[in-house]
Each structure stands twice: as C-alpha cells, then as structure tokens.
Amino acid sequence: MVTMKELPREEYLLKGHAACAGCGPAVSLRLLFKALGSKVFLVVPACCTTVIQGPYPFTSFGVPLQNILFESTGAAASGVVAALRQRRVDDITVVGWAGDGGTADIGIQALSGAAERETNFIYICYDNEAYGNTGMQRSGLTPYGAWTTTTPSGKKERKKDMPMIMAAHKIPYVATACTAFPLDFVNKVRKAKDIQGTKYIHLLAPCPTGWRYDTGKTIEMGRLAVQTGLFVLYEIENGKFKLNPPSDRLVDKSKRKPVKEYFAGQGRFRNLTEDDVVRIENWVDEDWNEYRKRAECA
C-alpha cells in the first residue's frame, strides 16, 4: 500500500488547465497519472475532460490522448488495444476515462461490448452525477432528489447501479473509488493495471459547479458521501466482493453519519423534503443489507 508521500512528484496534468476551480475530476486525473506514470494512452469521449485539455494547439495533458465520440469510449479503446497487440507493444496501459453520461447512458453499449470482449483496458467512470460539460443536465447517475437543469424540482428516479452492471459482465476487476480517498484510488488503479482483461473503476468525483457547494469543499463532499454510506467503497476481484476502508466499518448503521449532513452542504438537494430523506435513508439501509450479505459470502 502506497503512502501519500510515496506518490510520485511528476505531474502529467499540467497547471493552467481549463477545469473549474475545485474540480473533483481534475484532482482525480492527477492521481490517475500518479498511479500509472506516463506510459498511458488515454481515450476520452465528450465530457468535462474534453474541455479541461484547453483549446488547440495546446493541451494540459502530458500523455497521448485520443478524443473520441461521446458514446464510443469502449469501442475506441478496443481499437487501440488491438492495434497495440498487433504492434507487439505491451508496456502501455490503455485507459478509457469517461463521465457518468458517457458511461451509464450514451456509452453503456460500447462499454458493455468492450467488457464482453474482454478488452484489456482500464475503464474509469468519473461520476459527477450529471452532464457537467453541457451545464448540469440529469444523467442516469444523477441521484434521487438532486436538482439539475433538466430536473428543476429534483430528480424523481434513483441512480443506476453502474458498478454492479459491470460486475454482471463477469470481468476480472470492478471497484468503486472516490476523489476524497486518494490512496484507495491509486491502489485500485495500480492493481487494475496488472490484471489482464477489462477493469472497471467507478469513481465518485464531486463537482462544486453542479452540486452547488463552495469550491474548497470538494474533498469534504466526497468524504461525506462515503461516511454517510451513500457511496460505498468496494472492489470485486474475480467475483469476490470486498468492502474497503472506511466503508468496511460502516456495515453497522450506527457508524454511518446521517445522510442529511451530506445533503445539507449541497445546493442541488435543497428541494429534498423530510419524506425524501426518509425514503433515501431506507434505500441506503436496503443497499447496505445487500453489501453486508455480499461481504459475508466472501
């Protein structure tokens, strides 16, 4: 297990990039490169990262980056991986880096296909729970009750369980991560790098612009998402489910912070009613029952 100080000093996301102030995905990109170094081909569909690069002829990325169509990250990565294999190159890690819309909505077909074909790459969904690049519209990963520009009174449906959808593909590695737990994320990326086949990491990456909190609180929001049990850190390695710290200590409901603490800090949840909160708490309990059973089985 790596420590904070052991993270390499090299930066492959260069300063002066075009992310919003306090951008969770930007923090995560830095961590991604600290995990993998520079021998990476990044495949990026339309998403905030398209903009983070800055405009031609400049880019803030120090690794090769193929911008590709919104719904096609899995397919583009498949082509890159096949070509590398034909060129007998085996020291480059191919990473698909896509947002929640590009993963769970428009891109789910290409991702599912790539996973079913056992394409050797890491797919990271950086989830800021809405279409951030186009100004915060609802996605399949927007949580219940959250305001977006297309759900002005709050989303009426629940968030898709994307990592479990990927686990159903029987790929060798599925993990969740959060920007607020950098070492957990780095370790998971490094573990994924050494596994053959499709590896899926679902990364909750808080977004001050869309979630409506102070830009300084990005890490705090991520931490609360995990501490309240709303977002759970786990990994499924060859079908074996394992809760990771600190989520592994939250099976006991009394250890979890009240979900209200998470909602209170974010403007996007301002329309939540007391009933909504109770409903969400019940869902969290139900979900945790499932996680507990899975953890016990393993």
């Binding site: 993270l7 000093r9 260069l14 300063k15 002066g16 306090g22 002829p57 880019t59 950098p182 830009t215």
Partner: protein
C-alpha cells in the same frame, strides 16, 4: 512551449495539441481568494499537494508546499483540507 500557428501551412494534418503549461492561460487571474501558507504551522503532510486540482502546489525538498500563484485558481481545497489549518484563504489585493 508550443508555438501558436500563424499560417495555414503551420498546421498539422489534423488538430494535434501539445502539452503546455497554461493551456488555458494564466489561470491565476480566475482567483478571488488566495491561499497563504503558514510554514511554521505546516506539518509537511503533503495533503494540500495531493488534493490540489490544479497541480499548482509543488512539494519542496522538505515536503512543504509551494504555490504557483500564476496558475492557482483559488479554489480553497488546500485550506479546507489542511489538518492543522496552516493554509488560509485571504482576499486578493486590488
């Protein structure tokens, strides 16, 4: 540093963009508040460096942070995350 093309003949066959510090310019101008480090309080835990979204904090020899104000957007994550409150956000001077 990548040179800005001037004429059509300077262009590559398709848009290829090269790694550049300041691809979006000097983003320090986006700032309203600036982080200031109190080095006597700093414990060299490097958390501010880890969590900086803008890669503007470098770890000095002794692991204390150095902030590049040319590019720091002033988001305040470093101040918020510093366990000993060694970084505070102060209003930019006119």
């Amino acid at each position: 540093m990548v040179a800005m093309p001037k004429k059509r003949r300077d262009l590559p066959v398709t848009p290829l963009s090269y790694p550049t510090v300041g691809s979006m310019g000097k983003t320090g101008s986006w700032r309203t508040f600036r982080p200031e480090v109190n080095y006597s309080k700093c414990t060299r835990c490097v958390l501010c460096w880890v969590f900086c979204p803008d890669a503007v904090i470098t770890r000095q020899e002794d692991d204390s942070p150095k902030i590049d104000y040319d590019y720091c957007k002033g988001c305040g994550i470093c101040a918020n995350e510093c366990p000993v409150k060694a970084i505070i956000m102060v209003r930019e001077e006119e």
